[in-house]
Symmetry: C2
Subunit: 438 residues, 2 copies
C-alpha cells in the first residue's frame, strides 16, 4: 500500500498539465522525493501513519516556479547602482565591485541570500550562471533548491579565473566535481556573450557541454550594441553567426534574445534552441522588448528568468510573470497575446524544458519530483477568485507563497524557513555590503 | 510642552522633502492628526506620558503613498475577464457586469475590499472615480483612508444614474452631501472621457467643480482609437479640443495621457493640468506607453495611479512604481530617466499636488497631516540596503509595509488591520462574486 511521507490537503490543485482543470479540495500525496498520487475530494483517504500534513485550505497548490536565468550571488550588489547609462553601470560599478569583492566566501553568502528570497517567493528550480560556482553550488545544496549551476566563461580575467586561457579548464573541473554529485545540483557552463567569448571558446564550451550532456547558456542579442558588435566582427547577426559555428542545437540556452530578426527566430525554432526571457532586466537596463509572442507562435520553448539582482532588483518570479504578460501586450499593442496561462507555463513547465528537466519537474504528475508550492488566498488582493491563473499572474506576489517543497522536503512552512537560518544569512550579507559600500 | 499621542521610533526616516537625506534612528512625533516633530538620534526625548509607541527598528519610515487614480469597487471584477481585445473586454464583460451587479451594497463592499488592499500595501490617499459614490465615500470613511471621491459623469445610462440628463445634478447633489462633511473625504466629479461626455457636459462639470473649488478628473487620450474618435468629432486632438473648450487649467486632472503630441504636452504644462500615469493598466490593456519622462522634463506634475482592478489586477502602488520606472526606460531606450527618486515622488508628493493636497500630505514635515507608513527591512529581498529609494522602488512590494497611519490614526499595525474586519469584507465580496460568476 502507498505510504506517503507528506500530504498537502484541502487546496485548489493546479497541475498545469495541458487540458487539466483546477481540482478543488484535492489531496496531494508525496512519497520520498516524488509525487505519489492525487486524491479527489470524494476519494477515500486510507489511514496514513506518521505522515506530515500541510493544510492547504483556501490555498492554491501548484508546481514550484522555475527561474530559468539568474546570477544569484549578485544579491550582494542589489541597489548599489541604478538608473545609470548601461556602460557606466557595468564598467564603473558592477565589474569593479565584482573584481574587488567576489570570493568563495562572498559568493556563498550572496547565493544563500538569493536562495532565501527565491524560496520565499515560490521558486524551486534555478538556473544560475556566475563565478566561484563551487560556492554557489554549496549554497544551493545547503538551501535545498534544485539548480543548474553554470560556471562563467569569458575571454577576460574574471573573478576566480584570473587567466582566461584557463576558463574552460576551470569549467571542466567544476563540471567533473559536481556532475552526479547531488540529486539537486546539475553543473554546466555559461558563456558570457558572443562579444566577450571568441568563436573558439564558444565552440569548445559547446563540445564540453555535449560531452557531459549538459546545456550551455549564453547571453544572446541582449542589446542593439551587442548585435552591432557581432556584425562588425563576424559580418553576420548573432543567431546566424551561431548557426555558422554549428552551435544551434537543443543544448543551447539563449538568454534575453531581445534583438532578433524574423530569420533568426526561424533558426532558433527550427534548431530547438531554448530561450529565456527576462523582461524586468531588459526594461530596467533599457535593452529593449523581446518578441516573445512571435517566438511562442513559432514554437520556441521559452523560459522566464529574473536575471541578477543588480538589474531587476529582485528575484520574484511572480512579478516577472506579471511583467512578461503586460510588456508583451503593450509592445505589440495587442491585449490578447501572452495571457496568464502562457506566462505561467513559461515560469514552470516551459522553463523546466529549457533546462532539460521537463521529465522531472514543471507539472504535478505522479512520478515527477515533488517540487510544490502553496499560495494562501485569504488576502484582500487575492479576493475574489474567478480564475486561479489570472490571480497568480496579475494579482499575486511572491509573498503570497505559504509553503515550499523541493524534492519532497519542506523548505518553507507557513512562511517560516525550515532549512536555512535567515537571520544569519542576512547578517553576513550586511557585513559584506558594509565592505562594498566602503 | 509638546505631548504627542503617537511616536514612531528607531527607523530610517525618509521625509521626501527635496534635498533632505535619510535620517537614521529618528523619532517621529504625532499629535492628533498632525506631524508634530522629529527627534534626531542624539536628541533628548522628554518623558511623554500615555503615548502609543510604534517600533520602527530596521524599518523605513516614509510618507504614505498616494494612489492618484482608481475605481476602487472594481475589486469585484478582479480576474473576471483578462487577455481579451479591449472592446470585447469592455462591452461584453465589464459594462454588462457593472450594469447588472453594481448597487449601493456591492460598491460599498467592493470599495472596502480595495481599501483593505491599499492599506495593506501602504496607500494612505486615494483618488477614486466611479458610480454609487455615496457607498464608496462611506467605505473610505469606515476604512479611515484619505480620499478624493468623484462621482462618475457619462452621457449614457450609468449604474445608479439611469437618466444621463441627470448626471450633473446627481454629481452636484453628491458634492453637496460630502463637501466638508469629513476631514478625510473630498467629493468631486469624474467625467468618463471626451468620447463619452459631450462638450457641454465637460464644460458644465468644470464649472461645477470650480464653483466648489474641487478638481475635475477625466480619462484623457488613453487609446489611439479614442484620440481618433475625438479628431473625427471635433476636428482636433483631445488636448487641443479641451483648450478650445476652455478646460485646460489647474482644476483639471487628466488620467492616462498616453497618446500626446509635443504641442499637447506643452499645452498641458503651460496650463498646469495635473496628469496621472497608470502604466500597468496601459500595458495590460495594450493602450500604449505614455511619454512620462518628457512630461516630467516639461514640468508637468505627474501622479501615479493603479487604475481599477479589472485592468491591472491589483492596487499595489509599489508594483506600479517599479513598472513606471522600468517601462519608461525601455520605451525611451534610456536607463537613466524616471529613476527611483522620481517615481517615488510621483507616488507621494507629486500625486498629492495633482489632487490639490500638497499642503496637507506627501512629505513628512511638521504641521502636515500624519499619513505615514513603515516598511520592515528584515527580509531577504530587502537586503542589503545601499539606497533606500532604490530598495523601495525596485525591490520592495506592498506586503513589506508594516504599519499604516492616516490622519494620526493607526490603520494597520504589524500587518494587522485595526479599523476593519478583513474576514467579514472578504466573505461579503466572495458572496457577491458568486452572484457575478453565476
Amino acid at each position: 500500500m502507498l505510504q506517503p511521507d507528506l500530504i498537502i490537503q484541502g487546496g485548489t490543485l493546479l497541475t498545469l498539465v495541458e487540458g487539466e482543470k483546477p481540482l478543488l479540495h484535492a489531496t496531494l500525496l508525496i512519497q520520498g522525493d516524488r509525487i505519489a498520487g492525487v486524491l479527489a475530494p470524494g476519494e477515500e483517504r486510507p489511514p496514513f501513519k506518521g505522515v506530515q500534513v500541510l493544510d492547504a485550505t483556501d490555498s492554491i497548490v501548484m508546481p514550484g516556479l522555475v527561474n530559468a536565468h539568474g546570477h544569484t550571488a549578485m544579491t550582494l550588489f542589489r541597489g548599489l547602482a541604478d538608473d545609470l547609462p548601461l556602460k557606466q553601470w557595468l564598467f564603473e560599478k558592477i565589474f569593479p565591485a565584482e573584481a574587488k569583492h567576489l570570493s568563495e566566501e562572498t559568493v556563498y553568502w550572496g547565493a544563500l541570500l538569493g536562495c532565501l528570497e527565491m524560496i520565499a517567493s515560490g521558486t524551486t528550480t534555478v538556473s544560475d550562471g556566475y563565478f566561484f560556482q563551487d560556492a554557489t553550488a554549496r549554497a544551493f545544496q545547503k538551501a535545498g533548491l534544485r539548480a543548474l549551476i553554470a560556471q562563467g566563461v569569458i575571454d577576460f580575467p574574471a573573478p576566480g579565473v584570473p587567466d582566461p586561457a584557463q576558463n574552460l579548464a576551470v569549467g571542466k573541473a567544476f563540471i567533473e566535481r559536481w556532475n552526479h554529485a547531488s540529486d539537486l545540483i546539475r553543473p554546466g557552463l555559461f558563456c558570457h556573450s558572443l562579444t566577450t567569448c571568441s568563436d573558439k571558446t564558444l565552440q569548445e564550451a559547446m563540445a564540453l557541454s555535449q560531452e557531459f550532456s549538459l546545456p550551455l547558456q549564453v547571453h544572446l542579442s541582449e542589446t542593439e550594441e551587442e548585435v552591432e558588435e557581432v556584425i562588425r566582427r563576424s559580418g553576420e547577426r548573432p543567431v546566424l553567426h551561431l548557426a555558422h559555428l554549428g552551435l544551434l542545437n537543443e543544448s543551447l540556452i539563449g538568454v534575453h534574445a531581445v534583438h532578433l530578426e524574423d530569420e533568426e527566430i526561424e533558426l532558433l525554432a527550427r534548431n530547438r534552441v531554448g530561450i529565456v526571457h527576462s523582461p524586468e532586466s531588459n526594461m530596467k537596463l533599457a535593452s529593449g522588448m523581446a518578441r516573445v509572442s512571435e517566438m511562442v507562435k513559432k514554437g520556441i520553448v521559452l523560459g522566464l528568468g529574473t536575471d541578477g539582482c543588480a538589474s531587476n532588483n529582485n528575484l520574484d518570479l511572480f512579478k516577472e510573470m506579471d511583467t512578461a504578460a503586460k510588456l508583451s501586450k503593450v509592445a505589440t499593442l495587442d491585449p490578447v497575446n501572452m495571457g496568464a496561462a502562457t506566462v505561467l507555463r513559461m515560469a514552470t513547465v516551459w522553463g523546466a524544458k529549457v533546462l532539460g528537466l521537463e521529465k522531472q519537474i514543471g507539472t504535478i504528475e505522479v512520478g515527477k519530483k515533488a517540487d510544490i508550492i502553496t499560495m494562501d488566498l485569504r488576502k484582500p488582493h487575492l479576493v475574489p477568485l474567478y480564475n486561479p491563473m489570472s490571480t497568480i499572474v496579475y494579482s499575486a506576489s511572491g509573498s503570497d507563497v505559504k509553503d515550499v517543497i523541493v524534492n519532497g522536503r519542506v523548505l518553507m512552512k507557513d512562511r517560516t524557513f525550515t532549512a536555512l537560518d535567515a537571520e544569519e544569512v542576512m547578517a553576513r550579507v550586511r557585513e559584506i555590503s558594509d565592505r562594498i559600500r566602503a
